[in-house]
Symmetry: C2
Subunit: 177 residues, 2 copies
Amino acid sequence: MQATLALAQEIGYARLSIEAVAARAGAGKHTIYRRWPSKGLLFLDSLLSLNEPVLDYPDTGDVLADLREQIYAAVDLLASPPWGPLYRALIGEAQHDPAVAAALNDRFIRPQTDKTIARLKTAQDQGQVSPDLDLDLVMAILSGPLYFGLLITQESMTHDYIDRVLDALFTGMSPRH
Amino acid sequence: MQATLALAQEIGYARLSIEAVAARAGAGKHTIYRRWPSKGLLFLDSLLSLNEPVLDYPDTGDVLADLREQIYAAVDLLASPPWGPLYRALIGEAQHDPAVAAALNDRFIRPQTDKTIARLKTAQDQGQVSPDLDLDLVMAILSGPLYFGLLITQESMTHDYIDRVLDALFTGMSPRH
């Protein structure tokens, strides 16, 4: 998996191949294929092996501050070459490879969703978040704008932008707040 | 472009090629290449040629109702085979082809953003939306959850789900609303 990450950083995801990884790692191609039937699955596991604790939520007692920190960390990670392009390439792969999509959701998205819900549940219990907020929606609502920026407009997202999005999500679109 | 759409529906985006389109359309391959240097760009133009008015915003005077209608229409279109998989494939292409990403933004995302901002500006003027809402964020905030559902979790989105997301966005995450 280290060979995969090293190669991906050097040549980009498009040119990555299991053959090239096998050569770099000094491993048999078929050994790799048995465990990772596609480059998408190999790459996903390699990314996950980095086990980035920076994507966990702090709990300082201030949910807005903690959300900011976590989202800043995510966006900063994506802005550090080559992670943004690599994550985008992985998500691109997930659009036509259902096994990669399933693995991405099982191994990354759902655990991240659970962490997000847990942090917000604590905040609800402490009266910092509306008791009526449907926690099943929070991952889509909080990460949606980030995925829109990463995958669609592909513009770099500043900390200021994150602050403004969080402010709008907390305040709400209705008048009289 | 009709040949492109017909073929894409029949064989899927992955198997689409400019050669196959040329054969279907009875056109010269080089004629097509001159106008559309990649299958991504050809496919984007073909999708746009459908010119779906259903993606415009109604203005009934009730912004929440109008947003619901527009988003229901978008989600219903994506749920009608083969449009969801084809749009996802196009966005997948945009992750590694900057020309497709640029064309998608110029020819579809930005016009849709402008329409969204215009409808919400009207709503602001009529006191239906907070005067403090930063309209530059609304496309990311409103469409973000949809793209999260389309590209990441890849679960079908119901009208009820849309209602709940819009409710959360209008109400806001803060307590005491």
